[in-house]
Symmetry: D3
């Protein structure tokens, strides 16, 4: 199996806070990530696609097409944004990187179906580095 992974950095801010929990429970559960005015990260999104290389171009898919898809489906929504206030798809969710990875995966799969349907290449996984120490990954079977 052949896979291409492309990395896309973006910067965003968030506050971990659940409206279902009391102030104390929020503070206990999320610690300093619950600070009222939020904090932020240089996230790195890594998109993995797998399939067959096109015999003519020798590529799984043209880089510029993948970049365009990721920019439109993801980066335009989250880069230099506040994940609590600016991102419609995160409404009602605690903006942990687990939830962010699940939402970004959903966005990419929908965009993929619309724009890349029928190609011998599929979206395979979505990885987000939140810091150099914490990484989150969603894989699709």
């Amino acid at each position: 199996m052949l896979r291409l992974s492309k990395r896309y950095p973006f910067s965003a801010s968030h506050r971990l806070h659940s409206s279902e929990l009391s102030e104390q429970e929020n503070a206990r559960l999320f610690g300093k990530c619950n600070n009222p005015f939020g904090h932020g990260h240089n996230y790195v999104l890594e998109v993995g696609v797998c399939g067959e290389a096109d015999p003519e171009s020798g590529m799984l898919l043209p880089r510029a097409e993948l970049d365009r898809l990721v920019r439109k489906a993801v980066l335009d929504k989250v880069d230099h944004a506040n994940l609590n206030a600016d991102v419609a798809g995160m409404r009602g969710l605690v903006p942990t990187t687990e939830n962010l990875a699940l939402v970004i995966g959903r966005w990419l799969r929908e965009a993929w179906e619309k724009e890349f349907d029928g190609r011998p290449v599929r979206l395979d996984r979505v990885r987000i580095e939140e810091t150099a120490r914490n990484t989150f990954e969603v894989t699709y079977g």
Copy 2:
């Protein structure tokens, strides 16, 4: 499938030497890693856990709980230690990073069962970077 990977650096020393082999065989097999007074590394342990995000917290598990488990089950035993002399679980084993990964995996699985049993999250893999060029990984099916 959703996975969280957290990285934990630690520093340790070791000497690759098998008591079952002659001096010459040790020297031939392990080269300068067999030097009598040992050498050391900045290891990085990466712990991978997978499962379901908790709907309330949006997290696979609270970071501080995972940190505590890893500190108690692993880092307290190997950080700033000599793997030949200081680490009971490595007794009788050549302290290669293969063996270190297998032993650390065992420690983590035992601690997991004791402390995290019943959670919808499981230990998925243990990776150790020995240097920027050599990485070892144990995965659990």
Copy 3:
């Protein structure tokens, strides 16, 4: 000359916005860094100290003492904070990393004078990585 540099990561959010400028001037000057709800970074602070190694300990200064100073003088104020709302020393300043480096340098020099005065070691420079591509540095002659 002998120098020690220690790196301290922290996460914070900010919005680049000057109260002296119109909305349009702010947007033109700061681009997407002016988005109303802000964004964030994994900053890395690097503190450089230089001088003589202590003959008895072989160290410029004990690591734990430097860590304590930096934590108290800097990290407790900026880690997991919003630089616009949470940090008293940044009030009235656009929270660019240029200004952040100047303010952090001031904090460290004041703390240094109070706690490390008379040692044969001095604060030499303060560097902040905002992203992997943008770094800011203040050096003291």
Copy 4:
């Protein structure tokens, strides 16, 4: 399952160009990667092997033996080479990193069969980083 991954950097140049396509199609498909005199990369090859650790040595396989195999089967052919002109195995292929990974994987599997046949260790995957942002991987079931 236990896996060792070793990384091997090499430098090479290439020009993305398909003889089956017109000048315009090449330019459109490959963009600046189609520039006539080529460009280059610091590639990093990562070789993954998995199996059982040898009980006597505690190693999947001696590092020096793996290094020798990779040097002979791969690095001697591609390091400081032009992938279009110097590498027999790439003749007739567009030298994308997809194709390079497939060819390097073939070389390694052939060398493995000749030299490491019968060992309880097998070649598991080949990864090539073309830049810090683009990585390609071939995995063997």
Copy 5:
């Protein structure tokens, strides 16, 4: 003193070869870097500027202006290029990274004088990483 450093990756190929030397002298002096069809690197250019932060914007200079200058003065000439064949300013020079750093420094200083003259900020140094192990730097007094 306050300094901003920005990093710009680019990919290029080169062959180390001096027309003043015999084939043998070239081979002896440059080793495999003298291979006839060349090889390449992912270079990283780091541009250092120093001076006063503008009191209104809090910035040494707007990032987008520096990016535009570097793109026009440097990246458009060397990115995805062959340094022997494509770059007029390197004609007659062995395309070592020493020479490349000197030439890029000249380009940037000329562009700086034309476009940024009179600002309280000056070009301070040019650094080029050729590989993770080799870095070259030109500093201006």
Copy 6:
């Protein structure tokens, strides 16, 4: 001014312990770095040389000559060694990275004078990364 920096990784072990201090003072001063059987690091030595590029070769000095000097003067003594037991030049010194940097600098300057005397290039600085967070540097005026 033109400078070349080359990086050389090596692995070593050490125990921070001063024979002039009591057990308690050692424990208090060096913490877990005083553990009796030592620990270790993947050090990275960075050697900085500056001067004029040779007009014929376009290089400050041939890479292979610098590599040979560093290997002979430094790496052969410290790579895969125990800094307390194996390294004659460290005898009587606490093997902090401050002392290691000073000793390595001395070795390199002596070797430089013997082998590179009269060249328009001089040794400018020695940097050692002990971990990703701690770096030590000696600069020569």
